[in-house]
Subunit: 346 residues, 4 copies
């Protein structure tokens, strides 16, 4: 334990990722929950929006005021895309800032504008510790761009296979289904329980989802050559979880065993990535509330494709958990502090 | 309608597809519900297993006895794979038999043995009226192999694009999620509500699902050349519905409009296939209890792939509804008799 | 059927009850779908809000304009409470009007004001055909107040027991759980899928729910003396369905058999009420999309209470189905026309 | 922290309560996971049945062998009712045994036989720390009967009101809905996802549920006079959670404020019981995975009844969490060690 706790501020604390971050911070041995900003919910009790956070029953949200954040040791930004840049720019350079939004993930300003619209805020250290050499970069960064929810599962599943040359980079096909918290908390007809329960639907089909360039950027880095992805997102009738099915053309002679071994080798010793035993396939439920990724892979020689399936909790490893993992690393705390790899199931 | 009703027998009437067939038969203007056979449930009241079928409150299941089926005008077989062959062989050649199981779908005996095990029972007319010239064949057939649930949505979505040369046949990738009734009614840990609710999982990954050769067979027929499919099935937390995402490499210069028009042209006048307006994507809920397929398509020029999304109710258009549609055609009844294209939603 | 179809207009056609009414009207042998009014959705395509109603793909909603309704043979009002009165008053006295809202259900203007606020619009014939002598009144009425969703299941379950003096009127306790469509279609945080899925909650506890006086009014009528009800509503993670548990103190010596027989006697010959066989308890799923009520009862001698459980689909028997049943009766059509007692299950 | 960890054995570790106990033990600072017994699953990998418990990937279940349990500091029995007695009798008197089953909860042997069948195993200290003076008894007990899931929420909600004389003891009515894990893990048609999803059902209606005498026993203790309960259980489409609605006749002049204050007074300082702010009603989702009870109450003067609503996670505060809380107390550990009051939501 640290002698005096570190102060964590959360901006966008009324949303789902913000709420998950608060849940995790409350159980963290080194942090205390500092200012909680929530634009349109300023003045409301925290438990009015997050009834599970009874430990914060006497707290209310404040407005998004940079001055209130100045004393924080770490500021987590959990805002809609396009809103992080201005706040981040106003914070002291020495303050650790972890942006759970998309604003600072893409290196390609043109891709940013095409998929998100508006001006590119800049490029920060990509906060995926298990990817390549990212952990070392994160350790010294003060500005960390936390990965998107879909990219997390997809990238961690396919990057080692691309890096090892076991699959081809030029025709990756991803179909990934997300629980509803991935779509945010703004009420709409499409997100009503009556609409969603008992059914599946597709949305942003045809390469238009804004996570496409993020996936391609990271996988291109892993492959060392241009990766192109066909990405189709689905909305599933569950609050949390992403199950991603990622396929890529197999290199010659590659077997299931070779693929499996490549994943094992890539993630040996990783506390939050589990390559499942042969014969077991990921289920999102096993990762509920946990900062973990479950992976499995097969070589389908008939169709000539590798199929990787990954499961995460979109709010934990796909957002708040990974953000906290990044903060732990950047602040020199144990990487697993306040995080678990064990889901709440069933 | 007909002066005296036609007698419909159902073998395997205790399962989910059998129950759906009974639901539809009860509303059909020309059929009366004849013998209801259910091996291990013989002697039980129908409403004990199908509490919604109150109109059959005074009926009980009988054992699977061919003699009891001899007077039926149509026999529907809704049995586990491998069990249809012997019963079908014992029925009069003139009796219309619709097999909802897989036994008579595949022309390739070797593929049958590889995916299902055991001996191939033979090849019957494939009962997908909207596919190519199948409707005419169905009209004169006395033995109809009803399509599988996954194949129905996938084939109807992609066949017109292959037939028109708009996509390439050699690297089709399908990821399709099914509700739990698709996995049958036999109790198991994997199908318990506690296991399934709130989560998604993958199964039979890597080209091992038995619907793969059926999809390839039909699409090869449509394309006029060998089609290869990578097929990944998912289990979704909903009782009914299949959402299939099917992608194939685009031929040169093909746009979303061209793809959309090809689907429209293929299904103009079809009562049970709806190509959605541009901008709308299929949701399984809109097809609940209906014999309909909802389709939408996009050309993703960035990745070079067409993406077709199809939604069906696996028990209706994916099983019992299509079986009844086939029986209507084969018996000279109006094709839509006893069927609706309108789902129960939300 | 009729030589030329009757024209049915729906006001409030964009909501869930309105959509269910359209689904039923499309399958009705005697009606054609006339003007579809939907205040704030005027101008939108019907399938934009009801993607399952593909048969109405070329229809759009109109504004709520009384002139457009004047030619209709029946006008269904599916509006928020407080909005029916003015429209109804402007329609010709000879036009059949069925109000799915609450405005005309209560005889007690003071109770109306206390539970709903505002002025009482008046009292129409209560449209619950299976209750006492209501069917005869409905047959000649031109203004019918369609019952509320919670009241339907509760009243039909308990009224015969009160009428027969088998239970006491003065301490009825009801706990009833509804699917989310019962809460309407207006987007709010409380009705988001993320909020609702995987959990149960209570609301309007302590006798504040506006269906309380409606239940008491009908049960008082059945009992012939004042009935008092403690009513607690729950929100359940399902789109449709109400399961109501109603308990009342047993009169001396009353057994389960006596209670069961009283329900049987009350509903003999009723096409839409099923008293389940002994040992079976209602499940809402068995009534999905059907106009049916499933009932079961037990005498708990230990606690001295009768327990009645009823299941309905809140949108069908609890709203649109019962409205259509009432219209059938009032227009001299077969009572069951366009309606089924068989749910879509599982 | 203890210098060397305490060994916790779990018998019945393959079930849902057993799995939840393992999840909690893995995060506990003072326990190590000792022998894991699971009769019919002996020899299976733990993660085969509990895929979320990746930290136990190298562990397998053993058979139920008393010798293997002899060294444990605490033995948790998570067995079907009727199976605890023999095992408990064979364990050393000094070993702490917490029985999550029903065998040792009832003081009345006749009630045991009537509701459970077979012989009564005996009566142990009732492990509900927040009830009356139980905490002190638990602290010195070596044999603790962990409460049932339904009783936990119901008793904690009503006991303070009975103890204070604010409600009458003789006509308590409880309707409580449970998620499916409460029904255990044995596969059956009634517990299949296809059966359960999207619907509610009632079971064991009419006072036959075996938790009835347990509720009455504890409430009678609190009231100081005989309490009689009408208890109706429902099965809800969610994996976890119990929402209990408990009503009792109000004593003269009692208001909502008085009831609310009585709950507040009873649970001031309790780490795991939260009386919600006025206007908020419990939702089970807020307690998911947490050892907490959320309570709210209203006086319904119209019907003369108090209505208490309580929410718990049936596997945590309703089973494994409370068991661990009891073990903490009995072993002199901090009562909250390894437990959280904060649910995983949404």
């Amino acid at each position: 334990m640290t002698s005096s706790p570190l102060v964590a501020a959360v901006v966008g604390a009324s949303g789902y990722a913000g709420g998950e971050l608060l849940r995790l911070l409350l159980a963290h041995p080194s942090f205390e929950v500092g200012p909680l900003a929530a634009g349109s919910s300023a003045g409301k009790r925290v438990t009015e929006l997050h009834p599970h956070l009874t430990a914060l029953a006497d707290r209310t949200f404040i407005g998004t005021d940079v001055d209130a954040l100045i004393e924080a040791d770490v500021v987590f930004l959990a805002l809609p895309h396009g809103e992080s840049g201005a706040i981040a720019a106003a914070l002291p350079a020495g303050t650790l800032v972890v942006d759970l939004g998309a604003d600072h993930r893409l290196a390609d300003a043109e891709a940013w504008s095409r998929y998100y619209g508006g001006n590119h805020a800049g490029t920060w250290t990509y906060g995926m510790p298990e990817l390549g050499d990212q952990r070392a970069e994160i350790a010294t960064a003060r500005r960390i761009a936390n990965p998107g929810c879909y990219p997390t599962g997809v990238i961690l599943g396919l990057a080692p296979l691309l890096a090892a040359g076991l699959v081809e980079p030029d025709d990756v096909v991803v179909v990934a289904a997300s629980g509803t918290t991935g779509a945010g908390r703004k009420p709409s007809d499409a997100l009503l329980a009556s609409t969603v329960m008992g059914q599946l639907s597709a949305y942003k089909v045809g390469g238009t989802h804004q996570h496409t360039p993020e996936i391609e950027q990271a996988l291109t880095g892993a492959a060392g050559e241009r990766v192109t992805v066909s990405f189709t997102p689905l909305l599933a009738p569950m609050p949390r979880g992403i199950l991603a099915t990622t396929t890529a053309r197999l290199a010659d002679g590659v077997t299931t065993e070779v693929l499996h071994e490549a994943l094992h080798a890539a993630y040996a010793g990783e506390p939050f990535v589990t390559v499942l035993p042969s014969g077991s396939w990921p289920q999102t439920g096993a990762t509920l509330g946990a900062n973990s990724v479950h992976l499995q892979v097969a070589a389908d020689r008939h169709s000539g494709r590798a199929v990787v399936v990954s499961a995460i909790d979109n709010l934990t490893k796909g957002a708040a958990g990974q953000a906290l993992q990044n903060a732990n690393i950047a602040l020199g705390l144990p990487e697993t502090a306040g995080l678990t790899a064990i889901g709440v199931a069933p």
